[in-house]
Amino acid sequence: MRGRGRMWIAATALVLLWTGFAYDLSRPPDGSDYHRTVLQITRTAHDAAATGALIGRQQLDGRVFGPFAVSAYRDATRAMGSARRRLTEQAPPDGTSMAQRDRIAPILGAAADHLGDAASARDDARLRAAVDDLEHDVRRLATLLRAWQ
Amino acid sequence: MPPEHEAPWRVSMLLRSEVRDGAGRVLGRIADLETRRDPQGRETVEAVVITAGRWGRLLGYERRERTGPWLLEQLARYVLRRRTGRVPWRDLPQASPDRHEGPPGPA
């Protein structure tokens, strides 16, 4: 009997914990949740752009070989894509959030384009231009990060 | 269940069964069996080691001798609740391998 009683307690605790998790995951996001999400997205985009810029610079200096650059760009592009996807997936719950999204969205778009430019650049001149653009994006994203943190 | 009683005993049936004293109070659970070689060369059970805690067996700390670093010694004592004892087999007249009731205790 004692064993069964303990089992009931454990089962109840498990169900409660699970319900708590489910509630936490399914409740509509409020302003502070959205703020955290935007912050994460900005950070991901910043890192991806910075990675792209870093590889581009090394490519210009002849410090990396082709396959490495290809897979590093691919990683960065994938991260940038997921950041943009997350931004469109979640609707901003209030006015402040909307303003945040509207500030970050165009930068993400530009950074994604520049990342693509760098990854597909066929000559040094184009690569240099793309890297310069990316570095500009990185600075803008870093400014936003500092402001929002 | 007569066939059950016909089947030979296994050590696992005895371990963790309760040992009671004459008044029916639980002394503890069997943690180990102490054997001695008899004249025919068989390892016969001489006594049972009982512990009061719920853990029958804890890393060998139910043995009498002191081992282990201080920290573990304390931990083991706490879990075993310090009460380990030894009951000679002949004081367990109606011993039977029943997990739930345990052998009726010594006089």
Binding site: D61, G66, A72, A79, A142, L145, Q149 | G60, T67
Partner: protein
């Protein structure tokens, strides 16, 4: 002369073999986000693995019993079965992470997606465990792993701001923009990366299989006490170079390409190639060890025949477990989970599982029935007891920290 050579070989192999995907990922990530504020954790981890490996090596050499043998004996079949389930889960997760690491290293060298590499790597791994002379392979990969020294060279070439690094290391804590929760989450991950259970399964099983004696024990102590700290130095170099390159740029690390970047920055193509080769050797070597460890733990629990020196048909159950372990590891990666993320989870769970094997070893290392006068001395017991507290604290804290910090994501 030959003996000196074999000792040197052992030490070098231990250095190269110390680092695996967990060390690579944890050190690089922590370095980027926290500088060297976790340097002390690495030191604590290295001392821990030294004491743990020394104890289990001694127990196995003197008693002829490997770690999981003793776990079953001391904990009984039920608790040990739960223990086996936990340890096996962590070992298979680690195997998956290492296989993913090999795949990623090959991707960096070839630009072919790692998912295409993983099945190939798995088959090569299985063939290696099935019939190749294992000690030879172990030495080859251990020695090749030594090229990770490139991170030391890269760090020195990067002209680091040593004053700032020294300040971070001596006054540890989260920098601006990070919180204490994340700091401790990374501390647990780093600790777990240095003190992985599979290393000890592998080490003690090797001791039993190669029938170590007291003389071998002395050699093994050399390997442990020199090899592991020097291996830890390689891990530290990864942290340092990551801190130097990514710290000022406020970047975090989440891909293997980023981990390798400092070597390219400092040393160009050659340095980059060395880093990638080092990743490959370190992860493949660790994949062999974790693969074998899945078989060791199960076989030792049930008392089956096991070992890398046995003919497969004489240890059919052991080899079947190995195959299943590798297949599950591959299946894990085929869910397309990011291997770096898998590594992070693996570190959390190995922190949770560590006390399960640490405790029985500490107990047996004190048992005179087993070790006679070779039981732990006062120093070994003081260190062992302190680490018991540390290991339990890390295990208790790991999951809550993971949930609170959302895998350190903030």
């Amino acid at each position: 002369m030959k003996r000196v050579l074999s000792i040197a070989l052992g030490i070098l192999t231990a250095i190269g073999g110390f680092v695996d995907i967990g060390d690579i990922v944890a050190n690089s990530e922590a370095g980027a986000r926290f500088g060297v504020a976790h340097a002390w954790v690495l030191a604590v981890g290295v001392v821990g693995i030294c004491s743990y490996a020394e104890m289990s090596g001694r127990v196995s050499a003197v008693s002829g019993r490997a770690v999981f043998d003793l776990v079953r004996e001391r904990l009984g079949p039920r608790v040990a079965l739960a223990n086996l389930a936990g340890s096996l889960l962590v070992t298979v997760l680690t195997l998956g992470a290492e296989l993913g690491g090999v795949g990623l290293a090959l991707q960096l060298a070839s630009s072919v997606d790692y998912l295409l590499w993983v099945p190939v790597v798995a088959v090569v791994l299985w063939v290696a465990l099935w019939r190749v002379k294992f000690s030879m392979l172990e030495n080859v990969f251990g020695l090749t792993g030594l090229v990770l020294i490139v991170f030391v060279v890269a760090f020195l070439r990067l002209r680091p701001d040593t004053g700032a690094l020294w300040h971070q290391a001596t006054d540890p804590g989260p920098p601006a923009g990070e919180d204490w929760g994340t700091y401790w989450f990374f501390a647990v991950a780093l600790f777990a990366s240095a003190l992985t259970p599979y290393e000890v399964f592998f080490f003690s099983s090797g001791a039993v299989e190669e029938q170590w004696t007291a003389k071998d024990l002395r050699t093994a102590r050399f390997n442990v006490f020199l090899g592991f700290p020097l291996g830890g130095l390689l891990a530290f170099a990864i942290m340092l170079s990551s801190a130097t390159v990514f710290g000022p740029r406020q970047m975090s690390v989440d891909t293997l390409a980023q981990v390798a970047m400092p070597t390219a920055l400092a040393l160009g193509k050659l340095g980059l190639a060395a880093a990638i080769l080092g990743f490959f050797a370190a992860t493949f070597g660790a994949a062999m060890e974790t693969g074998l460890s899945t078989g060791y733990t199960v076989a030792q629990y049930f008392g089956w025949d096991w070992g890398k020196l046995r003919r497969p048909r004489d240890a059919a159950r052991f080899h079947t477990v190995l195959i299943i372990g590798i297949v599950v590891g591959v299946a894990l990666l085929m869910t397309t989970i990011d291997p770096i993320q898998l590594t992070e989870y693996t570190l959390v769970f190995s922190a949770v599982a560590l006390p399960l094997t640490y405790l029985p070893i500490l107990v047996v290392a004190n048992d005179r029935d087993y070790l006679g006068d070779r039981v732990n001395g006062r120093l070994a017991n003081s260190v062992g007891s302190v680490y018991l507290i540390v290991v339990v604290a890390a295990a208790v804290a790991a999951i809550p920290l993971m949930l609170i910090t959302r895998m350190g994501g903030g």
